[in-house]
Symmetry: C2
């Protein structure tokens, strides 16, 4: 029964996602959905990304969290337009849904934007199931999380168009086999581009920015 | 509507959890539910914990993952009885529920056990909502995840009886304010014991083991 209910919820969400996609197309806006476990470094990756893209590319950000506006506050320092969704108003939802994005995008105002980035709630499971009307999805994995995560959470890596392997500056202090992690990503999603970088030091950041610019 | 459906699901789960609690009490078994984000080091913490507790204390483990038996394989090397739940058979569920634990506990066999540990699915949101009939809950946070996680995912820290701050061996290489992380945990759950340790090096492990032995 639980599976049937979830199927209904996902179908309704997909209908709303199609409406969002239509709205974003009308605004000529590229929408990127960024997903990961808690603490993989999505916000730091975005801060550095915004600093490099703006002002040539006008970027807005919708940040999802159950509680707090910490990430929105950090991102606003880059000068980007930022709005925060707190899902504790929606029963503490573990993912962003298409209707939440619709409300937030209209609140943010999209007319002057080229790129809208959605920083999803830190969760390597549920956000992968909820289409929000985006053009592309990126999953961030940190080198502190273990090489087998793509095999344990395959859906997230299958639905993503690219992956970031973050915090590579910590590799000297870890027993982490980065080539094996990349191999595991490609096992569940053959051909997916993987960017090994450090959002903290900037190491390896250029290929990621090049890929992102090519999407727009 | 989604909130109402979830309320129904949680109520049904609670009924099943009460049955589990009754079953575990009959078996004179202490049940610990261990939860965290993906990659915080639950399995490594458990491996070291089992090595220290056994054979004086007979421990069984139920491991939850969407896919793979990697963690069960690692835990079985300690000599503990281990069984794996893969939720891809249940639509890729992001949490363990009371009925899944009932099935797994009976499959494992509990007659000769003193302690049953449930390693939940790596997810800092949903598992906090699902009572599985346990006696105590422990949340593991890694020092690579950021100090504000207790504020962003408060429910997980509110429902937990103790917290482990893992991977403290990495502190010299991070900009992580451990006292602030502990302060944030105590802000959402005053008085909760917090064990700062490294499952990799064994640093700080004794207070955790002492606490766990006291619970039994």
């Amino acid at each position: 029964m639980e599976i049937k209910i979830r199927k209904n919820i996902l179908e309704k969400n997909l209908t709303e996602a199609e409406k969002n996609r239509h709205f974003f197309r009308e605004k000529n806006l590229f929408v990127l959905n960024m997903m990961s476990s808690p603490g993989s470094g999505k916000t730091q990756t975005l801060c550095r990304t915004l600093e490099q893209l703006m002002p040539d590319i006008q970027v807005g950000v919708i940040v999802g969290d159950i509680c707090t506006t910490n990430d929105a506050d950090r991102l606003a320092e880059t000068g980007a337009k930022v709005t925060q969704i707190n899902t504790d108003q929606f029963g503490g939802d573990c993912h962003l849904s298409a209707p939440m994005i619709d409300t937030a995008a209209r609140k943010l105002g999209c007319d002057d934007l080229d790129l809208l980035i959605v920083e999803n709630i830190g969760n390597l499971v549920c956000p992968a199931e909820f289409d929000i009307g985006e053009n592309a999805r990126v999953v961030v994995l940190s080198v502190t999380e273990g090489e087998d995560k793509p095999l344990k959470y395959p859906l997230m890596f299958q639905v993503s168009d690219a992956a970031i392997l973050n915090k590579v500056d910590l590799l000297p202090y870890l027993d982490f086999d980065a080539p094996l992690a990349v191999e595991n990503m490609k096992k569940v999603h053959p051909g997916m581009p993987v960017f090994e970088l450090s959002a903290k030091t900037g190491q390896g950041f250029d290929p990621w920015l090049t890929w992102l610019r090519q999407q727009l």
